[in-house]
Amino acid sequence: MEIVLVGLNHRTAPVEVRERLSFTADQARRAAEDLRAQGIFEETMILSTCNRSEVYGVPPESRPEPAAALSEYLSSFHGVRADILNGSLYRHQDRSAVEHLFQVSAGLDSMVLGEAEILGQVREAYRAAHESGATGPVLNRLFQAALEVGKRVRTETELGTRPMSVASAGMKLAERIFGKLEKHTALVLGAGTISEQVISQLRDRGIGHLLVMNRSIERAEEVARRYGGEVVPWAEWEAALQGPDIVVSSVSAESVLGGEVVARAMSARKNRALLLMDLGVPRNVDPAAAKLYNVFLYNIDDLTDIVQQNRRARESEVPKAQVIVEEHVDKFLSWQASVEMIGVLEALEGKMRAERAAFLAAHMQHLGHLSAADRERIEALMDDLLKKIVMNPAGKLRGERNLRRKIQNIEALRDLFLPERDKS
């Protein structure tokens, strides 16, 4: 009952390779069917996100080199030359494959350490594979455990609690000041990439009212339409400052918002709290504005500092998350070993019966003087002997609690009595 993983991710492959090896939902289903039809795997599941493509599978016991067969299959399925793939693919088996999956679902293997999306992606990939019948008892157990690991890491550690981008750090700050953003208004000056990231975050966090302002009104309208905002003409920016609680500025011009302008706006808005996020370089907001009552001013460096602090804080949580991962890896392998032990014992019993039958068939012909009752008695005695010498001690090995010893026991049983089952 081997578990094989072949895949690539943001660490091992550039985006040009990752995009060629990614699977759509339909491709994943088709590939899973192929892999089982071709006898490479009995169970399989494909996890494909923008940062990784991974195929997990349980090969039949008789299958030689399943990882190599899978690599070849991936190469032919996506039409990517093997030499391009070989440098990018990683291959894991058993413990290493299980540990990798658990690290993935915990967010430990993500580009942004601890990001939460991956757990949803694992859940979705598993759901699709399960519904199409691609998974079986082993992968079901494995992925359920992976989802549990992801959940535990997120609830028991702080790996995913702090914002890791400038835009999300800004939003978290806004929530520190205003609480929920549903009843608040945000004005975004500029409609470039950073502004769009911020607008997307504002929408995700349920901002009540969104205003977009840009020198090019067409671009402002395009962004406003996409995110359900309202366009404010550039000429009215000073008056527009009086309404919103959050102002995000990311335009390529120095000191769009001078200290006096902000002071006038604060006076007009009767000093209602205002969060100014200055994401422009050169800075768009006069630093003197930070001294005004109820003004919270953050520039790009301030927000980057927060992100850096958060990154360090997340990194300090990695050992805690790793402990959870290890705990579940041991738990899974213990389950796997128990199942394996049952299989080995059943095979052993079958083999002993076959050996006994062959032995008796070979020797009973020389013992024709024995009555049928005596023959039956001899067969029963042989059964008792085999049970006493082999089956009972082997059965006791099932109770072993130490995972390492348990696995060693299984291997010893295989080596001694079932060499034909030994995959090595």
């Binding site: 609690t161 205003f178 609480g179 709290a273 009552y293 500092d305 927060i306």
Partner: protein, 270 residues
Amino acid sequence: MQPLAILTVLAYGVSLGLYFRLLYADQKIVGRAATAMLAVSLALHYFFLLERAHQLQAVPYQDLYGAVSLFAWLLALTYFGLEMVHRQRTLGAFLLPFVVLILVAGMLGRPGVPAGPPPGHGIVFALHVTLSVLAYAAFGLSFVMSLMYLAEETLLRRHRLGTIVWRFPALDLLERMTRSSVLVGMGAILAGTLLGFVAVRRLETPVSHFDPKYLVTLAIVGLYATYLYLERQTSWRGGRASRLCVFNFAVILLSVTVVNLFLTRAHRYF
């Protein structure tokens, strides 16, 4: 020292430890455990106050220890109510140290058991005192939250976020919780004062109506009414309103220490 008193302090201590843990680890289960432990502490504290009242045949505020213990209980109870309404647990780590400190200080400086039976002031008087203590507890809570507001605002404005700011409630929520607490305090002090006048009218012996306590209470009501008005004005919202709230509580401290002990006879109970 009564075992129930020690048990109560221990329970508050465990709850405080859990609230600290929540501040550090932000885990839902820890938060729930902290709240549950606080509920247990409140129940133990209640039974302690009840048991003590039965033993001494006296109301809790008959001596300083009892009054302080009652104050601590009402402080924790008001916080518990606010936590339930606003679903915000972070404050526990900042408030419960006061509760534990008050209880321990009360235990250490505990005066002897009151000599005689309590004066027969009746239920109206008992309600007057209890509501007044509740008002002080609620104002005390608003004081702690105002301090938290000022600390968080300063950290946010100076960009010194660290770990702690991410755990604090939003400034907006702190403002609302402070307002809720002041409203509880105002309701209690107004009702308590009214009942105080009713109790005075029932007394057979004449009482001076020039008690400085009346003036201070009037000032407290006026100051908190001003707070409730100003904190809704946009030019006062935020730090200014919180500073006023801190100042108001300083006046309360003046009222229950200097005024009660040195300037009035009718309100010097211990």
